[in-house]
């Protein structure tokens, strides 16, 4: 059976803060940081935005692009590490706001930065088994970085929704296969009730990101008997600009293959939205027949790899909703004080 993406939609809040502005406050060297992280600025949510509003906007954009009856959606799964409620699913809010209720199943996913792609895989399973007609999988976050922590330079806000289906004439991209690589790795966590996450120092790079990304990527290419040259584009989870570039190099993908999906430089790490944002930006410009290799990473830790082929339908639906490049142009810049207010870092007694 053919399974794939019926439609996609992205959302990025309009506000930004520059690396220079955060560095100014903490006395860090902005030039060294920008060079090291390969990130210039990051997105910041408005005062009235959170992971649920971002998920709804991304989902509505996907519905506008796909132009199908929302009552066909049989599953809504929202992946985030910043669900607004500890108990009360974001997915119920999304399902109601897109007009998909009540004939559906819904739940929230959490797996650091790869909760969105885990939701995609769950939808693939439900769709391919025939349990649901269409599945809505979302990755959305208003991620947190503690003041002066290294994560503060990249923890951003944004979301992407993918509608998964099996009706071949409806698919704008076919998902040929997926493969995951998961271990218990203490690279990053946030305890219940804590406002900011912690990271396990040396586990972040090699034992976390690179081990999981490369093993998932190699695993999928082995399963499908493909190699990097078989793909036109590649997207890797982008916690900063450096990691996806290095992962691509380690695996044998070129700079040109990853260029369209590298959106981290201008918006930062949108966590559950990060890898899917790269996919959305790539779908925004891919041609029918192009192949896209995608590997997400979530701390804790695991990676999900996908092999995707774009179909003719992409040309019909692409312009029916804003492209990622349109969403990220014309930002409004905040100073650190305004940013602290937007992120709730200033507490009233």
């Amino acid at each position: 059976m053919t399974i794939g993406i019926v439609s996609y939609g992205a959302y990025v809040p309009r506000y930004r803060i520059k690396v220079e502005e955060i560095a100014r406050l903490w006395g860090d060297d902005a030039e060294i940081l920008k060079k090291g992280l390969m990130v210039l600025e990051k997105s910041v949510p408005a005062l009235d935005e959170d992971a649920a509003t971002i998920a709804v906007e991304a989902a509505r954009s996907a519905l506008a692009r796909g132009a199908f009856d929302p009552s066909r959606i049989g599953a809504v799964y929202t992946g985030s590490e910043s669900h607004p409620y500890a108990v009360k699913p974001t997915s119920t809010i999304v399902a109601q706001a897109v007009g998909a209720t009540p004939d559906l199943t819904a739940a929230d996913f959490e797996f650091a930065c790869k909760a969105g792609t885990a939701a995609v895989q769950a939808c693939m399973g439900l769709v391919s088994s025939g349990m649901v007609d269409l599945g809505l999988a979302i990755g959305a976050d208003v991620s947190q970085g503690a003041p002066s922590d290294a994560l503060e330079y990249t923890a951003a806000a944004g979301g992407v929704a993918l509608v998964i289906g099996r009706n071949e004439s409806e698919l704008c991209a076919v998902i040929e296969d997926t493969y995951s690589f998961t271990t218990d790795t203490p690279d990053f966590w946030r305890r219940e009730g804590q406002p900011y996450p912690e990271h396990g120092g040396r586990f972040t790079g090699e034992p976390g990101y690179f081990k999981h990304v490369t093993n998932a990527a190699k695993g999928l290419m082995k399963k499908l008997d493909t190699k990097p040259e078989d793909y036109d584009y590649a997207v890797f989870h982008q916690p900063n600009g450096k990691f996806p570039r290095n992962a691509a190099k380690m695996l044998g993908f070129s700079k040109e293959q990853i260029a369209p999906g590298l959106v981290v430089t201008k918006i930062g790490n949108t966590y559950s939205g990060s890898c899917m944002m790269g996919l959305a930006a790539t779908l925004d410009q891919a041609k029918p027949g192009d192949r896209i290799f995608m590997t997400a990473f979530g701390s804790g830790a695991g990676s999900d790899s996908f092999s995707i082929t774009v179909t003719d339908r992409i040309e019909e639906i692409r312009d029916k909703a804003p492209k990622v490049s349109e969403l990220i142009r014309d930002p409004i810049y905040l100073d650190y004080g305004q940013y602290a207010k937007h992120k709730g870092k200033i507490r009233f007694a």
Binding site: D48, E49, A52, V56, P84, I93, A97, G99, K341
Partner: protein, 131 residues
């Protein structure tokens, strides 16, 4: 706002669900079960508004009600939806850019919350429609 009161109007708040009279063509937001023009002869159906319209008039709030203090200054406007009905909503973004006749479209935002422990109220606000 009480939780039941919010929940009762969820459709209108999230998705601009109103009604339309098939007899005279009038649109209603919030929804009405009876057409004021046609009375008992009216044929009311559910209708989801497109979410586009224009600013009829507005004010800029500098001294906000409890729960909105952080957002000042912000524009509160009467918006005429393209189908006809008017509603009151916050216009997201710089209030300096709001003017009478401004084209707007609906977005999904947080309307408020009952402190840190209570419910979060989501719903519709409007932003300038620059497209």
């Amino acid at each position: 706002m009480s939780v039941p009161r919010f929940w009762r109007n969820l459709g209108s708040r999230y998705n601009l669900e109103g009604t339309h009279c098939k007899e005279c063509g009038e649109y209603y937001y919030p929804p009405r079960d009876t057409c004021v023009n046609c009375r008992r002869l009216g044929k009311i159906e559910a209708y989801k508004f497109k979410g586009t319209g224009e600013v009829v008039t507005f004010t800029v709030i500098h001294t906000a009600a409890e729960g909105f203090e952080e957002q000042t200054p912000y524009a509160l406007a009467i918006i005429k939806l393209d189908e006809g009905p008017c509603l009151t909503s916050q216009i997201v973004g710089d209030p300096e850019k709001v003017h009478i006749g401004l084209r707007v479209r609906s977005v999904f935002r947080k309307l408020g919350s009952d402190g840190e422990r209570g419910m979060i109220y989501y719903g519709t606000k409007f932003i300038p429609d620059e497209a």
